[in-house]
Structures are given as structure tokens and as C-alpha cells.
């Protein structure tokens, strides 16, 4: 258990999704300031282990900095920088009554405390009496310097000047901002030239410098190498600023005519800039500057000893990449601590101090460097999003203060003897503490494990999902390849449909109810969409037909094996005669549904990518659109039936002969036309061999019809009509309003989609001299469109059935059907051979 460390949760704040990255800062004695990025700043007492005050600001707090000498706290807000004095704060905290133990003092900070009205301040830094404010203007970063007044009371903050740095185009910040909505605060730190020779200039402030986390004393040679001789000669503190666009800039503060210059670019948002001793040489002098980027890039800046001949010392930049995103980071004397959000890791920087020593072994050392960066030690503390070192470090072991994403303030005590493994003999006083540490560590590991578990679970889920999708894809693709051979019923996933007339607001409309039947062994899970395209068959080739196609999408959640999904879509309104319609069904899977919304949000290419698998195609023809009148209402139809029954037919062979009957003569023709029908009636007929019909229909309905093969011609006629109207050989059938009435007669009266009445008559006729028996289906209507459409539909059905039958039973039948059809004012007769 090398990396085990004790975690002690001090308090918990609830917060989420704040506009700025949170920050913890020690100050005001043993207190901790927490700024979570929301409007509040919390003051937490580490001694009393409780929240002492909540400062409520008028806007989201971006940064805070404290001034030790003058006992001031500067807080930057959207509207500017506020200054609160500690005595005031303490008086307000203590003035609240004795029951303060229960609730912290709440202070509303009004605009009276506003000292610098600079908008959009993101980061603050205080260097002796100068307050530096980094803010973002439209296209540039602006670093403004304000002189803080000598007296606390005075409110005049003299602006000393400002430095501008244009923003680079590629804003690396957008990534994080898009995901979490949190703006990364630019890092602002101050580097002092740690000059052992001159205690006079920095004697008062040096003690403070080493303690606070944004001031470092840098070893002189490195300072000169990085920031120039002039800054070193002037002993000017240097402001280092790590921007969210990845640049690390520096500015010698007290050098006349100095400018904000770029020191290095990390090419990813800078999370942290710190300094480390690495090798203990000078007292408190850092020998190495460390900058950490959001995606794990670590840059160590230190002095490179020059080669014996050639140049002198050089500034060495060692770059490496630690695994994982870096949420926050911290450096102590030898180690770099960083949190990935799911774990706190530590990297030993002193290991790397020897990385560059021999130049001749460059290849080897660089490998070692990479290895060292790749193998940080895990401390098993998760969800830390802000880190700070406590001001008091009494015991000598490393203590860190962390803020977790849930808002828990934690003290993380790293085991003292992590390097030397021989520290197993603990004094008895420490045993109790050790057990407590162990317990809390276990708790922390549990929490971490649960995080990992959910991650693995979701990955497995996605893989299983993907597997299903692939299975279904293969199944459907195999179907497509063998579509011609497989009858529809054998497809495991298919669509069938039903037409249904409905009446809404006195308008009839034809709806299609599509049923997706999943008889495959796989579940159609979330992400699948049933897509149905409807387009008229007759126009499908022309340009206007393309435009008249309509697409319907039905996303669905889960369709288990054996389940069906029923969707309904409007097919046409009454009066529309664009039948037959083709209904093409397909299943679409969108890849983005595999991942969560967050993951897909930043992969825009994935959002549109999907798998589209065609299922099957249905045809809605005229027969489907008929509204059959109940036989009781139409005495004429009964007559027709009796008439048709009179006709006797006995020929075996069937041929088609269609003729036109003009019952009432031409429209302008005579007075007798008015007696029967006002308009001219068109008719068409189709003749089918009775034997053939008997075979197919009887075969088909043998299980339904107990009369079996002994079906009479009368039965044959009615069952033919029944089959035409109600069966669904191709997957589409006509729905029935109310009960389906059994067609006992061989005459059917119906209304077509345009509202015309249609009469379908089936009768047995003798064809030719060889007494071939055939069933003739006659279609009569006043509308030519209806006659044409129905004729086509009947032909199509018979053709389809015929093809099926050929495949199923008997192929050697030499019988042939000839369908002939004539109409007066139609095109020349067409004939089809089957």
C-alpha cells in the first residue's frame, strides 16, 4: 500500500455547473477561502472545522487573492474587483450571536466594496502593492496593473497601466467550455529572482513568497535564462501567466518598457504553473518551473548545464505527457500532484532531475523521461477538482487540501514515508490514526471503485448494444440478398400493413397501419427507427413522382423478439387517386445513440451517421382502397349474383376476354340512359381458369374452409372476391370497419377512393368451344380511373398468386391465361401473358 493516503472530509457544499473553475485558498489565519465559481465565497475555519461565513457577491466569483500585510481580501467578480478587509469580516462573523455554531454568517457584498470597476476580470494577483487583473476583452487578453492605496480606507486604485496580448485564433478553451460550461481561469503567478546576496530587497516579503501558492523564488541562473538579464539585474518580479489558449507568457513587472512575451506554448489550456525545488540546494529556491496543461502535457523548465565546450548554461525545457486529463494540479518540493477527476496522482519530479544529465545518452534518457511521465503513482483519491497546500505544515508530512466535484472539502494526508519503505514501525500513538486513515482510505477506494464500475458497465452496455445491431444488420442484409426467393412470411423481421378508412371532421381519409413484426431472436433496442416511405407507383419513374414521396420516421425504444410495433400513417385523403402506392419500409440505426449525448455532442460527424437497412416493400393498390358496402343494403347486388349464377361455364382452359359494356349508351346518346345510370359505365373483366383458381384458393383456404375441394362454382366466385378484397398475399390487407361480413354472394358493391361506386362481379363462364371453364371478374364503374386501377390490381394479385403457386406446387401446368382488356376511350388493348 505505497500510495495509500488518508482522506478526511471536512465539510460539504452542494454545487454544480459553475461558470468558473473552483479555487481553494488559505488565508485569514487558519481559514480557507473557497470559491466554487458561483456567486458565493465560503470561509471555512480549519480549526473549528466549520463554515464560518458565506460571502454573497453580485455575480459569479472568478478569483480571489488575499493581502497579508493589509489584511485584505480581493475578490474578482463579473462587474469588477471587490475588496473586503479581514477585520470587517471577522467582526461580522463574530458579531453574529453565540449560536454561530449552527449556521455561518451570511454577508451580502454590495457595490460599496467595489474598488476596481473592471469588467470580466478572470484572475487576480497581488505583488507587493500592485494588484494585477487579467481579463479577456473581445480579441485580446488584458493585464491591468492597479496601485493599491497605502491606507485601507482610501478607495482610490490608481491604474498604473495595462498590457495587451492578442488572442490566438484557435481557442482551445472551447472544448472544455462546451462540455461543462465552465471557463478555465487563466493562471497568474509571480516569480521572484531568489537572490541570496540581496536580502534587503526581499527580506520582508520572502517568507510570504515561499508560502503562498502564487509566488515563487526561482534560482537566479534559471531566472536569468528564462526572463533575461535585465529582469535579473533590476530584481524585478516576473509575472507568469498561463492562458487557456495554451500560451505561457511572462512580464517583468518592474522593468521599464517591458512587454508581455510568450515563453512557451503548451498547445492546450494551461491548468497550473508552479515551481519545485527538485534538488535541495538553496534554501527555498525553486530550481524548476512546472507548467501543466489540461490534456496532461507537463513542461519542466530548468537549467541545462552547458557542454564543456560551447555555450554556457541553457534553459532546458523538458516536455512530457502524463496520462489523463488534468483537472487541477499542485507542486510541492519534489512532487507534482494532479487530479484527473477520477484519481489523484503523484509524479516524482526528482526522478526526472537526472533525465538530462548526459547528453550522449539522449535517446535513453528521453525514453526514461517518457516512462517517468507515464507512470505516476495513484493516490486513490477521486473527484478532486481543486487543490491547495495548507499553510500549516506542522507534522512534516505532506498535506493537501482538496475540493471534490460534489463539493466536499477534504484534507488529504499523504503517507510520510512514501519514499523509504522502511517506515513500517509506527509509534503506538500513530497506530490509532493509521487505522482511521485506513478506514477512510477504504471508503475512498470504494467510491472510486464504484466510479470505475459504472464506467465499465456502460462500456459493456454499449458493446452489447452494438452486437445486437450488427446481428440485426447481418440478418436483414442476408434477407435482402435472397429477397426474390424468400417469401415474405419467412423473413424474420418484416412489415405488414392494413388500410383503413377513417372519417375525421367529415373528411374521409385512408390510413395505413404498418406493423413491424420482430420474429428474430434479437431485440431491437434503443436507437432504431422505423422509416416508411410512401410514393405512388405510377409516377415513380418520373420527376414529379420523386417529389410526391413522403417519408415517415418512427423511433422506438425496445422491440423484443415476438413483439410487434404498430404505427399508423395517413396514406391519402379522399379524392386522391394516386394509387397504387408503394410503401417501402426500412430500419435505420443512428450511431450516436450508442454513446451518450455528452459524448456525441463534440463529435458532430457521428451525429449524422447511421445504418440504413431496407426491410420490405408493400404495395397498396385500388382493391385496398375500396369501401365495401354491406350486402344487405344493396338489393341490386343480389340480383347481380343471381344473374351471374345463371351462367354456366365448363371449359378447362382459361383465357381472358375483356369487353366493354356500355349499358346506357353514350352520354349524349339517348333518353334511355337516364333510366339506369346518368353517366357512362365502364367495365373491364378478367377471366381466370376455374381449375387454377380452385387449386390455389382452395389450397390456400383449405384449412379455413371445411368444404374443401368440393367447392362449387358459386363458392368459388365468392371466395375469389373474398380473396381479392380481404386477403393479404403481399402483406397489405384491407381493414374493415366493424365486422367483416362474409361474402356470400358473388357481387360486391363498393366505393372507391374518389367516391365512385364500383361493382365487382364474379361469375363462371365458358370460354371458347373447348368449354374451358373460367371465372370472370367484371369491374364496373362510372369512373375510368377506378376501372383501370381495379383491373390492374386484380391482374397484379392474380399474377402474384400465380407466381407464388408456380413456385410452390406445380410448374408444369401448360395452362395459360390471357388477359385482355378494352375500353372505348382508353389506350389500345394490352395483353399480358403469364
Amino acid at each position: 500500500m505505497e500510495g495509500r493516503c488518508a482522506v478526511e472530509t471536512w465539510t460539504e457544499f452542494g454545487f454544480s455547473g459553475t461558470p468558473y473553475t473552483p479555487k481553494i485558498k488559505f488565508g485569514l489565519g487558519t481559514n480557507v477561502f473557497l470559491c466554487t465559481g458561483s456567486d458565493e465565497v465560503f470561509v471555512f475555519s480549519t480549526q473549528e472545522r466549520k463554515l464560518r461565513a458565506v460571502l454573497q457577491f453580485p455575480g459569479p466569483v472568478s478569483d480571489l487573492v488575499e493581502c497579508h500585510d493589509k489584511q485584505l481580501l480581493y475578490v474578482s467578480c463579473r462587474s469588477g474587483v471587490y475588496c473586503i478587509s479581514f477585520p470587517f469580516l471577522l467582526s461580522r462573523v463574530q458579531s453574529s450571536p453565540a449560536d454561530a455554531s449552527s449556521s455561518p454568517a451570511e454577508l451580502k457584498i454590495s457595490s460599496d466594496f467595489l474598488v476596481v470597476g473592471e469588467e470580466g476580470a478572470l484572475s487576480l494577483l497581488l505583488v507587493s502593492s500592485v494588484l494585477l487583473i487579467l481579463s479577456q476583452r473581445d480579441t485580446s487578453w488584458l493585464l491591468s496593473l492597479y496601485k493599491t492605496p497605502e491606507q485601507t480606507q482610501s478607495s482610490s486604485y490608481e491604474m498604473l497601466g495595462s498590457f495587451r496580448l492578442p488572442q490566438v485564433l484557435a481557442d482551445l478553451n472551447s472544448d472544455t467550455e462546451g462540455q461543462t460550461g465552465t471557463r478555465r481561469r487563466p493562471v497568474l503567478v509571480c516569480v521572484h529572482p531568489g537572490h541570496p546576496k540581496s536580502p534587503s530587497s526581499s527580506s520582508t516579503s520572502s517568507s510570504e513568497m515561499t508560502i503562498t501558492d502564487s509566488h515563487f523564488c526561482l534560482e537566479p541562473v534559471l531566472f536569468k535564462l528564462l526572463f533575461g538579464i535585465d529582469a535579473a539585474l533590476a530584481r524585478s518580479p516576473v509575472i507568469l501567466c498561463g492562458l487557456p489558449d495554451g500560451r505561457l507568457c511572462f512580464l517583468p513587472l518592474r522593468l521599464p518598457g517591458s512587454q508581455l512575451r510568450v515563453l512557451r506554448s503548451l498547445e492546450q489550456p494551461v491548468v497550473f504553473v508552479g515551481a519545485s525545488v527538485v534538488m535541495e540546494t538553496g534554501p527555498g529556491l525553486a530550481r524548476c518551473l512546472v507548467a501543466v496543461g489540461e490534456q496532461g502535457r507537463v513542461v519542466l523548465m530548468k537549467t541545462d548545464k552547458g557542454e564543456p565546450e560551447g555555450g554556457g548554461d541553457m534553459a532546458g525545457f523538458i516536455e512530457g505527457c502524463v496520462p489523463g486529463p488534468v483537472v487541477c494540479s499542485f507542486v510541492d518540493e519534489h512532487h507534482l500532484y494532479y487530479s484527473t477527476g477520477s484519481d489523484l496522482l503523484v509524479l516524482d519530479l526528482s526522478e526526472g532531475s537526472s533525465w538530462r544529465e548526459g547528453k550522449e545518452r539522449d535517446g535513453e534518457t528521453s525514453r526514461k523521461t517518457a516512462a517517468a511521465f507515464q507512470s505516476p503513482t495513484s493516490l486513490n483519491v477521486c473527484r478532486v477538482i481543486a487543490l491547495a497546500a495548507p499553510a500549516l505544515n506542522t507534522t512534516g508530512d505532506v498535506q493537501l487540501l482538496g475540493l471534490t466535484i460534489r463539493g466536499q472539502l477534504q484534507r488529504i494526508i499523504l503517507p510520510a514515508g512514501r519514499e523509504d519503505a522502511g517506515s513500517s514501525n509506527l509509534p503506538s500513538t500513530q497506530v490509532g490514526r493509521s487505522v482511521r486513515d485506513l478506514l477512510s482510505a477504504i471508503g475512498d477506494v470504494c467510491e472510486r471503485a464504484s466510479v470505475l464500475k459504472t464506467a465499465i458497465k456502460s462500456k459493456n452496455q454499449i458493446l452489447r448494444h452494438l452486437n445486437h445491431v450488427l446481428n440485426i444488420s447481418f440478418l436483414l442484409l442476408a434477407n435482402k440478398n435472397s429477397e426474390e426467393h424468400l417469401p415474405m412470411q419467412e423473413k424474420q423481421i418484416r412489415c405488414y400493413a392494413e388500410t383503413r378508412w377513417s372519417r375525421l371532421l367529415q373528411k374521409d381519409s385512408l390510413n395505413l397501419t404498418c406493423v413491424l413484426d420482430n420474429s428474430s431472436p434479437y431485440v431491437l433496442e434503443q436507437g432504431w427507427t422505423l422509416s416508411i416511405t410512401v410514393f405512388p407507383l405510377s409516377y415513380s419513374s418520373s420527376a414529379e413522382g420523386e417529389s410526391s414521396s413522403t417519408n415517415f420516421s418512427f423511433p422506438f425504444h425496445n422491440l423484443n423478439p415476438g413483439e410487434t410495433l404498430e404505427v399508423s400513417l395517413p396514406l391519402s385523403a379522399a379524392g386522391d387517386t394516386s394509387f397504387p402506392m408503394r410503401v417501402s419500409c426500412s430500419l435505420i440505426f443512428s450511431l450516436s445513440s450508442l454513446l451518450g449525448e455528452e459524448e456525441t455532442a463534440h463529435l458532430p460527424s457521428l451525429q449524422s451517421s447511421c445504418i440504413s437497412l431496407p426491410l420490405n416493400t408493400l404495395t397498396v393498390d385500388w382493391l385496398h382502397t375500396l369501401q365495401v358496402n354491406s350486402p344487405t343494403m344493396h338489393p341490386i347486388s343480389r340480383n347481380a349474383t343471381s344473374q351471374s349464377s345463371n351462367i354456366t361455364t365448363d371449359t378447362v382452359q382459361a383465357f381472358l376476354n375483356s369487353h366493354r359494356s356500355r349499358c346506357a349508351g353514350r352520354g349524349e346518346g339517348g333518353g334511355e340512359g337516364a333510366s339506369k345510370a346518368e353517366r357512362e359505365q365502364c367495365s373491364a373483366s378478367v377471366r381466370v381458369s376455374s381449375e387454377l383458381l380452385r387449386d390455389t384458393l382452395v389450397l390456400k383456404s383449405s384449412d379455413l374452409d371445411p368444404r374443401g375441394p368440393k367447392s362449387t362454382p358459386q363458392n368459388l366466385c365468392s371466395s375469389l372476391l373474398d380473396w381479392l378484397l380481404y386477403e393479404s398475399p403481399e402483406g397489405v390487407k384491407m381493414g374493415h370497419q366493424g365486422d367483416r361480413f362474409v361474402l356470400s354472394s358473388s357481387v360486391v358493391h363498393a366505393r372507391g377512393p374518389t367516391g365512385d361506386t364500383v361493382k365487382l362481379t364474379a361469375k363462371e363462364v365458358n370460354v371458347g368451344e373447348e368449354s374451358l371453364r373460367a371465372i370472370e371478374v367484371q369491374i364496373e364503374s362510372s369512373s375510368i380511373a377506378a376501372v383501370c386501377g381495379l383491373h390492374h390490381a386484380v391482374l397484379r394479385r392474380i399474377q402474384y398468386q400465380w407466381r407464388r403457386r408456380q413456385q410452390e406446387v406445380y410448374f408444369g401446368l401448360s395452362s395459360w391465361c390471357c388477359f385482355l382488356w378494352q375500353c372505348n376511350n382508353l389506350q389500345p388493348p394490352t395483353s399480358t401473358c403469364v
Binding site: 535564462l225 538579464i229 548554461d313
Partner: protein, 635 residues
């Protein structure tokens, strides 16, 4: 409440009262902040003023919206236009020019709807001409004039000088009516006392005066930068009689001086600058320009005097930013934002002035004064209050050079210990970074090589080496001054050892140690290198002569002359050594040659002060030498 809505007179009174209250509050706030500003000496509180100004501005706008919610009425117009004036003044003071202009135009159009004719707004010149004509002698004539004042201010602040030029006559008649009409003014004041007259936040009369002088200043500056000095001069001379704040009058005089300086009349220009300074003692640009003229005229004493004045003025806390008395809500600095004016007015930073002063003093024999200035400069650089915010040119030299210059000055002032301390500072800073070997490229490529070197890690390695060398050289001089010959030799040797690290590389040749016969351009690294070599070898040679190591002395002096033939000390001492060695003819020849060099060249002029020959070492008396030659002569 609803009753009041139907009583326009009451409503009017209420609005007037509201306006007057606001105006009084605003005036009071501004006056108190102005006083505070005066007392605290804080010049930059314009930012602080913004916040209350913003709130007043929004209050005025709110009031205006209320008033404009009612259809235009004749008896409301005076109030309405007054409130528009107040709101626009506030907006303009916050630099919201377009907003103010829009408000102004809309208000005038609304007012004109009552008179019936509506002017076209497409062209501003035409618009104002028609407005002025149609307003004629109506009751709100004065109000519209006040608004024209504001429009003028906006044009000035946005540098739309052409429109101002086009409407020159209208504006000057406006100026005359507002300032000249005394009776009218009295009447206004009399009316202003009663409470039902809407008050204004700034007095339009004062505003128009300010506008007149600011316009003259800006136009003068523009013409001057376009090269029309004489036209600018005549316009400025008429402007100098205008009533105006002192600071602005000083600008007028200053610009007149600049015109004259452009017309190559330096003495008259100096007169004008003097007038500017008399008018406003803080007109630093006049001082700076006079200093430049003195420098041009070669009047060193006057130049030093001017520099001293300039420096002390710049060191005053309030003068760093040209503070113009802001008695008006619309400050002159808001109105004078022309680019050419600010470039004319620009003055180098106090520190760079101090540096030129120190250098001038040292170079022209006022060593002790120069030393004091150098020490002041160094102290200023190290003070906590120093912040590198003055980035304008001419910048200071690099800090090590500054240290070396100060060291040389200290040595000249016979303070060798202080000089050594400064040099130690430079050496300790640079020593660790010095390269073991460095190649100096062909002179033609030096600049390129420098930039490349700079880009490696921000420092010019050769330059650094030369600084360190110069520091050792100065330390050698110090020890020579103290007659500590052994230490002097040590330090000169350190310098020489550093210098031989530099190899010179000519294009296509191998790197080599530099020699004296190369043609050297002034100011380059190579030039400084050769000069350093000459001086350090000469110094060591002279030190050897003092310890009677004549052979070593002769070698060094000869090498010195080879590196830098114009070294007078080396030449004279070389002759002396030869003389002591008994080579009297050669010695004589050497002396003669050296004297001929000194009459021919003054090559040391372009060099930094720390590369001048030391005046403090052991000296040879030229007359005595000539005497010796004469004695030798007959031989």
C-alpha cells in the same frame, strides 16, 4: 395619479423639477469628486467618475423617455430639449458618441414636427443648416443651438474635422451668439433662478468656448502633420487670443512653436515654447521640444538645463498623464483625441529623460552631476514603485549597459569602489551564462546572427560576453586608479580571456581570432570587441610598465595597438616602454604616429561611455615627450 395624467401643466412642472434635482445632484457629485481629485492629486479618477455618471445618464434617459411618451407639445419643447441636452452630455462624457448623436438628431426632428417642416437627415451639414434656418426665431432657438454645441463636441471627439470645416460659419456664429450676447446671457441667468426653468448640467457658453479652442488645437495639429505649417501657424495665432483654460492655451503656443520649428526658425520656436511654459508650467512637450532644438543647435548647456527641467517636471506625480483641468463634465482630454496631436505631444518617459540627462552630463564634463543622475536612475529602477508600463520609444538601453555607463561615470568621479560594486553586479549576473566559445559572423550578417541568438533563449550571448568583458575592464581601470597594479593586471587579464572566446567568422572562412587590420563598422559587436581588446591590453600593458615588466608591457601595448590603433594611451605608453628599453628612435616614431592619429580621428565618439579611454590612470605628459624627441632629434 390618473388625475395628474390629464393635467399637462402639473406634469410639466413635475418633470422640470425632476430634471433640476438630477442636475443639481449631478453637479454636486461632480464638483465634490473634482475637489477630491484636486486634493488627493489623483489624476486618474475619470474611471471612478464613470460609475455615478452612468447612473445619472440612465436617470436622464429615463426621464426623457417619460417626456417623449407624450406627443410633442409646444410648451414641452423647452424642457424636452433641455433634458436631451443633459442626457447627451452624460452619454458623450462616457464616450457613447453614436448613441448621443442619434438621440440628439431624433429629438430635433421631433421638435421640428411642431413647426411643420421636416428636414432631410441624410447629410449632416445640410440637416443642420436647414434646422438652423427653420428654427429661426422660434422659442426653442436657444435650445437647438445648445444641441448644436453638443453635436460639435461629438464631431470633435470623433475627429470629424471635415464637417466642422464645412459648418465653419454656422459654428463661429454660434460661438459669437453664445459668448457675445451678454444681455441674452443675463436674461438666461435671471430665468434660471426660478424653479420652473429646466437646468442644464453644463453651461453651454463654457462648452462652446472649450470647443472653439479645442477645434483650433486639433486643426492646427492636423495641418502641421500634413506639412501646412504656415497655415496652421496663422490659425493658431488667432486662437491664442481666445478665452480658454491655461493648459489649452499652452497647447496653442506649443503647436505654434512646432510650426515654427518645422519652418526652421528655431529661435522663434523656442520663444513659443517658452510662452507655452509660462502659460502652463506642466506643458512637458514644450520642454521636450525645446530640448530637442537646443540639441539641434548644439547648445549643450541649455540642453542639459532643459533635460533637467523636463525630468523634474516628469517626476511630479500629477504630470505623468497630461492632466487637463476638468471643470466641465466634458473634459478637454475627451475632445482632444486626434492621433497627430497626441504624437506631437508625446514625451519620453521620466526614466529615459533621466538617462539622457545623466549621459549628457557625463559626456560634457559635469561628471559629479551625471553620477548623481545615474544613481537616481538606478534607484528608480530598483524601487518598488517602478512598473514597466511606459513602453514608448525611445526606450532605455539594456540594463547591463546602464550599469556599465553608471560605473564609468563613477570612476570618472573618482569613486572606484562604487564602480567596482556595479561591475560586480553585472559580472555576477552574466557570468554563469557566458558561452565557452562563440563565433561572431561576418559583419554583414551580424544583425541576423544576433536575432537568431536572441531567439534561442531570449539573450544575446555575444552581447552578454562583451558586457562582462567591459565590466572587467572597468574594474581593471578602478585598480589602476588605486595603483593596485597586480589586481589591475588580474582584471584586465580576465577581460582578455573572455574576449578571446569570440572567434570571428568571415563568410567562407574558418573562424579566427580577430585582428586589427579588419575593417570594422561602428556600433557592431565586432567594433566593441576590438575596442575592448585594445583597451584591456593597453591597460594591462600600462600596469606592467608600473611593475617594470617592460617586456610583457611592450607585448601587450603592441597587441593593443594592433587591435585598436586609435588608442592614445597605448600609443604613448608603447613609446615610453620603447624609450625605457633604449629603442629611442622607435619610441619617437611611435609617439609621432599616435599624435597624428589623435588629430585625425575621433573614433571614440560613437562608442559607449564605458569604452572611452580612462582619464584616471598614469599619464604621460605630451610636452615632456616632445621635449625628449627634440633632445633626441639631432641624433
Amino acid at each position: 395619479m390618473s388625475d395628474k395624467m390629464y393635467q399637462p401643466t402639473n406634469l410639466l412642472n413635475k418633470w422640470v423639477q425632476e430634471n433640476n434635482e438630477l442636475v443639481n445632484k449631478c453637479k454636486f457629485a461632480f464638483a465634490s469628486s473634482f475637489q477630491q481629485q484636486e486634493g488627493g492629486g489623483d489624476t486618474l479618477s475619470r474611471d471612478q467618475n464613470q460609475t455615478p455618471l452612468r447612473s445619472y445618464s440612465s436617470e436622464f434617459h429615463k426621464l426623457l423617455r417619460k417626456i417623449q411618451g407624450v406627443p410633442p407639445l409646444v410648451n414641452h419643447t423647452h424642457l424636452e430639449l433641455s433634458v436631451v441636452y443633459n442626457a447627451c452630455v452624460c452619454s458623450t462624457a462616457q464616450s457613447q458618441f453614436t448613441e448621443a448623436e442619434l438621440l440628439l438628431i431624433q429629438a430635433i426632428q421631433r421638435a421640428l414636427q411642431m413647426t411643420g417642416d421636416e428636414p432631410v437627415a441624410s447629410n449632416r451639414t445640410v440637416f443642420w443648416r436647414t434646422v438652423l434656418k427653420s428654427v429661426g426665431n422660434t422659442t426653442f432657438n436657444t435650445c437647438v443651438r445648445y444641441l448644436l454645441c453638443l453635436q460639435w463636441a461629438i464631431w470633435l471627439a470623433t475627429c470629424q474635422l471635415t464637417i466642422i470645416q464645412e459648418l465653419k460659419e454656422e459654428l463661429s456664429s454660434l460661438f459669437e451668439t453664445l459668448c457675445g450676447g451678454v444681455g441674452d446671457d443675463k436674461k438666461n441667468e435671471a430665468r434660471g433662478k426660478s424653479s420652473d426653468i429646466p437646468l442644464l448640467v453644463t453651461d453651454p457658453r463654457g462648452l462652446v468656448e472649450l470647443l472653439q479652442i479645442c477645434t483650433s488645437i486639433i486643426q492646427g495639429a492636423e495641418r502641421l502633420s500634413e506639412g501646412q505649417s504656415s497655415e496652421a501657424l496663422s490659425a493658431l495665432q488667432t486662437a491664442s487670443s481666445l478665452p480658454a483654460p491655461r493648459a489649452l492655451l499652452a497647447y496653442v503656443h506649443f503647436l505654434s512653436g512646432s510650426c515654427l520649428a518645422h519652418m526652421s526658425r528655431p529661435q522663434m520656436a523656442l520663444q513659443c515654447y517658452r510662452k507655452a511654459l509660462v502659460t502652463d508650467a506642466c506643458c512637458v512637450s514644450a520642454l521636450y521640444q525645446s530640448m530637442l532644438i537646443y540639441r539641434q543647435l548644439g547648445n549643450t548647456q541649455a540642453e542639459i538645463q532643459a533635460l533637467r527641467l523636463l525630468q523634474s517636471t516628469l517626476m511630479l506625480p500629477s504630470v505623468t498623464v497630461p492632466a487637463l483641468a476638468t471643470t466641465h463634465l466634458l473634459s478637454p482630454s475627451l475632445l482632444l483625441c486626434s492621433q497627430s496631436l497626441s504624437s506631437l505631444l508625446s514625451v519620453p518617459s521620466a526614466l529615459s529623460v533621466l538617462h539622457s540627462l545623466a549621459l549628457k552630463c557625463v559626456l560634457h564634463g559635469r561628471v559629479s552631476e551625471g553620477v548623481e543622475h545615474y544613481l537616481d536612475l538606478l534607484a528608480a529602477l530598483h524601487s518598488e514603485d517602478q512598473h514597466g508600463v511606459h513602453a514608448e520609444a525611445p526606450a532605455l538601453p539594456r540594463l547591463p549597459e546602464l550599469y556599465l555607463e553608471a560605473g564609468a561615470a563613477l570612476l570618472m568621479a573618482r569613486r572606484p569602489a562604487d564602480c567596482m560594486a556595479l561591475c560586480n553586479e553585472v559580472i555576477s549576473t552574466t557570468l554563469e551564462l557566458l558561452p565557452e566559445k562563440v563565433v561572431l559572423e561576418d559583419p554583414e550578417e551580424t544583425s541576423e546572427a544576433e536575432t537568431r541568438d536572441m531567439s534561442v533563449d531570449g539573450e544575446d550571448r555575444v552581447g552578454m560576453l562583451l558586457w562582462t568583458g567591459a565590466a572587467y575592464l572597468l574594474q581593471g581601470h578602478c585598480h589602476t586608479h588605486l595603483k593596485d597594479w597586480k589586481q589591475a593586471v588580474t582584471h584586465y587579464t580576465r577581460c582578455i580571456n573572455l574576449l578571446v572566446r569570440v572567434r570571428f567568422k568571415k563568410k567562407g572562412f574558418q573562424p579566427q581570432i580577430t585582428s586589427g587590420d579588419m575593417v570594422v563598422k561602428q556600433g557592431t559587436h565586432l567594433c566593441i570587441l576590438q575596442r575592448l581588446k585594445g583597451l584591456s591590453l593597453a591597460g594591462r600593458g600600462i600596469s606592467f610598465t608600473q611593475t617594470d615588466q617592460l617586456k610583457e608591457a611592450l607585448r601587450d601595448l603592441l597587441l593593443s595597438l594592433q587591435a585598436s590603433p586609435e588608442c592614445v594611451g597605448a600609443g604613448l605608453w608603447c613609446g615610453e616602454v620603447l624609450w625605457r628599453l633604449g629603442r629611442r628612435q622607435e619610441a619617437a616614431a611611435c609617439w609621432e604616429k599616435t599624435w597624428s592619429f589623435t588629430t585625425q580621428h575621433h573614433s571614440a565618439e560613437g562608442l559607449p561611455v564605458y569604452l572611452q579611454e580612462p582619464q584616471s590612470g598614469p599619464l604621460l605628459d605630451s610636452t615632456e615627450l616632445r621635449h625628449r624627441i627634440q633632445e633626441l632629434g639631432p641624433n
